[in-house]
Symmetry: C2
Subunit: 754 residues, 2 copies
C-alpha cells in the first residue's frame, strides 16, 4: 500500500472520494445486531462516539473513565451505506484505511472481504466487483485483546501489537481505544496505480550521492513514467523518464551535490521534493505521487571513552554504542520522551502534532524518543519532524512486558513490522529504531534470546539497514531513572544523583510536578481540591499511587523542603519549582558530562490527558509547565552554568560552585567574563568572577570552583546563585538552592531530616 | 548441495567415483604456467604438497615455517586428467567439493565453469556437457587474501571469511593454508538427486513431537519416495511413502514418543537414523540418503540470580542470558575451547577428530566452544559430537578484528553463512551459534550496530531459530581471562582471582604450561633446550613474546615460586604443576559458584602444532599434559573439594580450607564423611573431619571452613591438603599449595616478593 502524498494536478477528478456517513453500535457477540447506532467520527474511537451520542459528561473528570471498562469486551459495528458509484473504465472503487484498531473484519453487503489483526497495517480493498445498486459497508471491531490469565494491567497487552499504555499506566487511565483510528476513505482510483516506492541512497563524504529508486505498479500496463527530484527552490536536481513494462521498475541516479538534511540545531533540515508520474500513451497522467525526501547518514557509535575503560580480568564486553552520529558528526542529543498526546489516539490530528513539536523544537531539543508503550504515530507526525529537523528514536509498540515467542504473536508482529519499517525508513528524521521499552529489566523479563527481538532486528536489518537498531533501552552503559526529586530510600536528591551517575546516555529520568490550578479544577471536584489527598479523583489523575504511594505529587518531598503548605497555590508553587530545579540540574549536568555522555531525554514531554501531577514538561493538551521554560533555558546552545553537590545547604557549610561555559552551538563563542552572585536575605552579593577563552563550536569550558560559606539566613528556605556574563545577558543563568536551619535549630521545627 | 551421508545399497554401481591423480604447481600470476607440478593430496593444502615434493625437512621444527611466507602471494594450479567416462542415460558427471580455500576458479578443458570466493560453500558442478575424449580439470587458487593496508597479522584477515588464526596468533605460526581442504570428488551420479533436506520439529514436554520434513530434487520427475525414521534398534518409529511431482516436497509426522538426545553427562545422546529413498516407476532406487538425527530443545536462559541484582538508579539492563537449558533442564557446562587441530586444516581427518573428542568426553566435559579464530569443522566432527553427546558452541570465523560493513565482505559472509547454518542446524549437539570471538572488546572494535553481526543474527534467526545465537563472547556479565597463574601487574594469583571474580560464565581463562621433553626436543634445537631463552625457536613456539614478553613459558612465575631451576626437567615439572594447580582452582571454584555461574571453559583444549608452552590441556597432536589429568579429576561428577584464598602461605598464617561436596551427577549421593589432612614436611596430619548429608542430583553441599596455622617448614616449597571420603575413595581430592619462608628469612633468598 502506498502511504505517500497523492495528488494529480492534471486530472483533478480522480482519485474521487465518495463521502460516507458512518455510524457505529455495539453488541455482546459478533453476530448480534447493535441495539442502536450512533454517528461515528472517522478517524476516532468507538468509545468517543458512544460517549458523544449518549451525552455522557466529560470522561476526563475525576474517575469517570472507569465507567467505560465494561465496554472493553463488546463487539463494535461500523456501517455506511452508499449507492452504486459511476466508475469509468480503468478505474476501480477502493476502500482504504491507514489503521483500524485492533482485530476486525470488513464486509460489503454481508460478504466478508477481509479480516485482520493489527492496527498498523493499512487496508486496501477493491470493491468494484462486489457492488450492488445499494451497498452497505461494514467494519466489525472485535473486543479489546487481552492475554488469557494475565493480571489486570499492561500484562494483558503482552500478546498484542497494541499500545500497552492503554491498559493503564502511571500517567494514563485504563482506557483501551478501539475502532477506525487513522485516515480512511472510499475512493475511485485508476486501476493502474503506483503501489510502492523505495528510495535507497549512498551519501558520500564529498556530498555526492548514488540514488536507487524503485517503484511498483498495481498491474502490468505499458506506460511511461516521469520522475523528478526538485530542490527547495523547485529546480530539478535530477530527472528521469522512461517506459515501464513489468510491475517493478528501478533506476539509478548520480547526484553531484546533495544538500544534507540536518537537525535544526546543527543546520537546515533540507528537504527535496520527489515527484513520480505514470503517463499513458495519450500523455494522460494515470497516477502520481509527491514525497518529501531528506538525505543524511545516521549511526550509533561508541561513546567517547567507553573503549578505554580499563577493567580487571576477567574482562567483560564494552558498553553498547549510544552516541548518534549525523552526517559523520558525533552529536550530543537533548530531548524528551513522547507519549500519545491523546488517550484516544484516533483523535490526534496534524495540528496537535505540530503544536507539540513546535514546542519541542523551541526547547532546543533535537531528539525525540517515541516511547514503545504508545503508538506508531500517524504520517503527519513524521513529516513534521522531517520539516522541523527533529531527530526521532522510534520504538515498536512493546513496553515493560515479556512478549512471548508465540507463533501467533510473532506472525502479527512480523506483519505489522513489515508495514511499519518501510514507512519509517522514508523519513530523514528517523535516527534509531528500537524493539521497545525496558525489555531487558526484571519488571519486563525479556532478554537477547527473545525471538520477538531477534525478529525485529532481522526485519529492520533487511528493510532499513541504514537506520540504527537497538533491542531496547536501557542497554549496557545507559541509565534509566531516577524519577524523583528526592529519594527517601537512598536519601539522595537529584543533585547528588547527577553528581554520582556515570552513564553513556540518560534517555529517561523524571522529576514530578503538579499541574496548574486551571487544569486541577477541570479534573478534581472542587471540595477535594485542597488539601490534596489520596481520593479517587487525585488517584485517578496520578497524584497518588501512580508509581509509589506518594507519586506523582510527592507532597512529602515538597513539605520536607518547604514545610506544611496552607493553600493549594503554595503547593503548586513549590512542586513546580522543584520540578524546574530538578530538570535544570539533569539537563545541565548531562551537558557537562560530554563527551562520555551523549544523550539527555527527560521522562516525559507531553501527556495523554490532564494529569494532576506528572513528570511531563507539557500539560495536556499542549500547555507548558514552568519546568518547560526552565528546560528551554538549560538547553540554550550557549550558557554560563553552575553545578552543585546537593540541593539543601545550611549555615557554615562551604558552598562549592563549579562553573562552566557550555557551547553546543555551531558558532564560535568569543572569550568573556562571568560574575557570580549569591542572592540571600534579599541582598545580592558578589562571590567572584572568572574568564572563559574563545570557544570553538561544540566546546564546553570548565571554569573554576568558587567557594562560599553559607551564612545564617532568617525566615528563608531558598537562595539564588546568579551567573552574569558581561555583555552577554543571553548567557546568564540562575539557580535556586535550598537553605535549612542548622541541626540544633531544626530539632523543634517541622521539617524532617535533610 | 546435499551434505548428508549417501549410499545406495540397491544400486552399488552409482554414485561411481572417477579416481583422479591430482597435481599442483605455483606461479606468480594467474595466467602464467607453473614451472613444475607436484603430486597433490586431496584434501590437503598446496603448501604441504610443495614441501613434500621439494623434500623440505620438518616445517614444524624451530622457526622453519618462516620459509613459506613468500608463497602466500602465489597462484596455485591444481590439475587432473581423465578420459571420457561412460555415463548412462539419466546420469551425469559431477565435480563436487566440500571446500576449496579461498578464492578460486574451476575450469574444464580451458573453459571457466565456476569461480568462487569462500572456503565453506561447497562446489557442485555438472561436467557432462563439457566433456571431450581427453579432459583436463583445473582448479586455480588465488593468493592469500589480505586486507590492503592492514598491519601484518590477524588484521589482514578482516575482510575474508577465513580463519584469522592462520595469519599468526599467540599459539599459531603465520602459515595461511590454501587449496582443496575438504572432501572432493569426480563422480557419476543420477540426474535426479535429493538436493536438500530439512527436518524441523517441535518437541513437547511430554516427549511427543511434531516433525516437518522437506526435501528437494534436482529436477522435475514423477517419482516415489520412501522415508523412514529408525530408532537405535533399527525399528521404524515413523515412515512415509508418497509420490513427488514438483521439485519440493514436504510432509508432517506426529511422534507419540521421542527418546531425547542428551549430553553424555546427563543421559544418552540418543540418535535416530533417517532414511530417504527416491524410487522410479520400475521400483529402482534412484537416490537415497541416510542421516543421524537427535531430538532436543536448547535455549540460553538468564542465569539464576541475575534478574535480582539490585542496582541503584539510574538503572541499566540485566546481564545477558548465558545458561544453557537442554530439554528444559538448566545445565552447568564444563568444557574447553577448540582450536584447529592442524595448522593445515586440510589434513584433519575423522580419526584425529575422534581421538581428541574422546579425550574431551573423558574429561567429563559437556560443552566445547569452537572458537571463531579457526575453521568451521568438517562434517565428521559434528557427527562425532552428536554421537558422543558433546554440546557445541560454534562460532562463525570472525575473531579479534573489526570486520567492516563492506558490501563485498558482507556478500561473501552471507553466502558462507547460508551454507554453514543449515549444516549446523542438522546436529543435535549444536547448542549455540555465535558471531565470533571477543568482537565487543577494544582490541577488536566492533559493536552491536555492526552490519556484519546484524546479518549473522538475521540469517541465524531465519534459518535456525531453534538454536540460540549470540553476537560474541564475552557479553555483559560474562568474563574472559585471565591467562596467567600469577599476574605481576595486579599482584594476584589464580586463587585470588577466582575468589574475586563474579561472572555468569567463564568461557575463556588460561593457565600456561610447558610441553614435555619429547615435544620440546622435536621443535627446539638441542643446544637451545636449556636454559630456555628468547631464541628464535622458543619464540616461534610461543614460549616467549607470544602474548606478553614472558608468555607462555612464564619462567618468572615458575622461578618466583620455586627459585632458579638448574635443569630442564625441573622447569618442566614446576611449570606443569602450576598449570595443573591453576586449572584445578578454576574448574572447582566455578563449580562452587553455581547456580549464578553456569559455565567454565578453559582456553584452550588442543593446539594446531607442537607449542613449547601454551594454555592448552592437550599437546599436539593429541597428547594430554599433566593439567589434563588434573582437570579430569576436578570435573568428576562427584568429588570432595576445597577452596583456598591464595596459593602461597607462610608460617603462622591461618590457612582456611573451605570445604564442599560437589555433585553435578544425575544420581543421588548418599550422606558421608570427609577427613581433611595436611601433608607437610613428610608427615600427614589430620586437620578435621566433616559430614555431608544425602545430596540430590545436581546439588552441591557447602561444608565447613577448617582452619590450620601454617607451621615452620624446612627446605620445602609445597605442601598438600588431602580430602578423603570414607568408603568413597573415588571422591577424594588433593591440593598442592605453596609455602614461602616468612619475610625476615626471605630477605636473603632468591625468590621475589610474594
Amino acid at each position: 500500500m502506498d502511504t505517500t502524498i497523492k495528488e494529480d494536478p492534471e486530472n483533478p477528478r480522480f482519485p474521487q472520494i465518495i463521502p460516507l456517513k458512518w455510524e457505529v453500535g455495539c453488541s455482546n457477540t459478533k453476530n448480534e445486531q447493535p441495539e442502536a447506532y450512533y454517528p461515528a467520527n472517522i478517524p476516532g474511537a468507538v468509545q468517543l462516539d458512544f460517549m458523544q451520542a449518549e451525552g455522557h459528561p466529560d470522561w476526563q473528570f475525576s474517575d469517570r473513565f472507569k465507567q467505560y471498562l465494561p465496554f472493553e469486551d463488546k463487539y463494535w459495528h461500523y456501517q455506511a451505506k452508499f449507492g452504486r458509484p459511476n466508475i469509468p473504465d480503468d478505474y476501480e472503487l477502493i476502500f482504504r484505511s491507514e489503521g483500524i484498531d485492533y482485530a476486525f473484519e470488513v464486509c460489503l453487503n454481508g460478504e466478508l472481504l477481509h479480516d485482520q489483526t493489527g492496527m498498523f497495517s493499512p487496508v486496501d480493498l477493491t470493491l468494484s466487483s462486489h457492488l450492488k445498486d445499494e451497498n452497505q459497508l461494514e467494519v466489525t471491531i472485535f473486543p479489546v485483546p487481552k492475554t488469557p490469565g494475565a493480571e489486570v494491567g499492561r500484562r494483558e497487552a503482552d500478546t498484542a501489537v497494541k499500545p500497552a499504555v492503554s491498559y493503564g499506566w502511571d500517567f494514563h487511565p485504563r482506557l483501551v481505544p478501539l475502532g477506525i483510528w487513522d485516515e480512511t476513505e472510499l475512493v475511485i482510483m485508476p486501476k493502474t496505480k503506483i503501489k510502492d516506492t523505495e528510495l535507497r541512497y549512498v551519501l558520500n563524504s564529498d556530498d555526492t550521492a548514488q540514488l536507487e529508486y524503485r517503484f511498483e505498479t498495481t498491474r502490468n500496463q505499458s506506460l511511461n513514467y516521469k520522475w523528478k527530484l526538485l530542490d527547495r527552490e523547485g529546480l530539478a536536481t535530477a530527472q528521469r523518464t522512461g517506459k515501464i513494462n513489468g510491475p517493478t521498475h528501478s533506476f539509478k541516479v548520480e547526484l553531484d551535490h546533495v544538500n544534507r538534511w540536518w537537525s535544526h540545531d546543527l543546520g537546515e533540515p533540507y528537504l527535496y521534493r520527489l515527484e513520480l508520474q505514470l503517463i499513458d500513451d495519450s500523455g494522460k497522467v494515470i497516477d502520481s505521487i509527491v514525497e518529501q525526501v531528506g538525505f543524511r547518514t545516521v549511526k550509533l557509535v561508541m561513546n567517547e571513552g567507553t573503549w578505554d575503560e580499563v577493567r580487571a580480568f576477567p574482562k567483560s564486553r564494552s558498553s553498547a554504542p549510544f552516541q548518534l552520529e549525523l552526517n559523520g558528526k558525533r552529536i550530543f542529543t537533548k530531548g524528551s520522551n513522547w507519549v500519545p498526546p491523546e488517550v484516544f489516539y484516533g483523535k490526534i490530528d496534524e495540528a496537535r502534532y505540530r503544536e507539540l513539536l513546535e514546542l519541542f523544537k523551541s526547547a532546543h531539543f533535537n531528539l525525540l524518543r517515541v516511547w514503545g508503550g504508545g503508538i506508531i504515530n500517524k504520517k503527519s507526525f513524521y513529516e513534521i519532524c522531517d520539516e522541523l529537523g527533529i531527530l526521532l528514536w522510534q520504538e515498536f509498540p512493546l513496553a515493560c512486558n515479556a512478549y512471548p515467542d508465540d507463533p501467533e504473536y510473532l506472525k502479527v508482529l512480523e506483519q505489522e513490522a513489515r508495514s511499519i519499517i518501510p514507512r519509517m525508513r522514508r523519513h530523514a528524521c528517523m535516527s534509531t529504531l528500537c524493539g521497545g521499552n525496558e525489555l531487558f529489566n526484571n519488571w519486563s523479563g525479556m532478554d537477547d534470546q527473545s525471538h520477538v527481538l531477534r525478529l525485529l532486528n532481522s526485519l529492520c536489518y533487511q528493510l532499513a539497514p541504514e537506520i540504527p537498531y537497538i533491542n531496547t533501552s536501557p542497554l549496557m552503559g545507559v541509565g534509566h531513572g531516577h524519577y524523583l526529586f528526592y529519594d527517601e530510600e537512598s536519601g539522595e536528591d537529584v543533585f547528588q544523583l547527577c553528581r554520582r551517575a556515570h552513564n553513556t546516555a540518560y534517555p529517561e529520568f523524571g522529576v514530578p510536578g503538579i499541574a496548574d490550578r486551571e487544569t486541577l479544577e477541570s479534573i478534581i471536584p472542587e471540595d477535594e481540591l485542597y488539601p490534596p489527598r489520596a481520593s479517587d479523583a487525585w488517584i485517578a489523575h496520578h497524584a497518588y499511587e501512580a508509581w509509589q504511594s506518594d507519586s506523582w505529587l510527592e507532597l512529602k518531598t515538597v513539605e520536607k523542603y518547604f514545610g506544611k503548605a496552607h493553600d493549594l497555590e503554595t503547593v503548586i508553587k513549590h512542586s513546580q519549582l522543584l520540578q524546574a530545579v530538578g530538570y535544570q540540574c539533569w539537563y545541565e549536568s548531562s551537558r557537562i558530562k560530554q563527551p562520555y555522555c551523549s544523550m539527555v531525554l527527560n521522562w516525559c514531554f507531553n501527556e495523554p490527558w490532564p494529569t494532576a501531577a506528572n513528570n511531563s514538561l507539557i500539560s495536556y493538551p499542549a500547555k507548558p509547565k514552568p519546568a518547560y521554560y526552565q528546560v528551554v533555558e538549560s538547553c540554550r546552545p550557549v550558557l554560563a552554568c553552575a553545578s552543585f553537590a546537593k540541593f539543601s545547604w545550611t549555615t557554615e557549610e562551604l558552598l562549592e560552585i563549579s562553573c562552566y561555559l557550555l557551547n553546543d552551538s555551531q558558532t564560535v563563542v568569543d572569550s568573556g567574563e562571568v560574575e557570580v552572585f549569591i542572592q540571600i536575605n534579599g541582598n545580592q552579593q558578589k562571590i567572584g568572577n572568572w574568564a572563559y577563552p574563545k570557544l570553538s563550536t561544540d566546546t564546553n569550558f570548565t571554569g573554576p570552583i568558587l567557594r562560599y560559606p553559607i551564612p545564617e539566613m532568617r525566615d528563608k528556605t531558598l537562595f539564588q546563585i546568579q551567573l552574569k556574563v558581561a555583555n552577554r545577558p543571553e548567557y546568564d543563568s540562575e539557580y535556586h538552592l535550598h537553605y535549612h536551619a542548622p541541626l540544633r535549630e531544626r530539632e523543634t521545627s517541622d521539617t524532617t531530616n535533610l
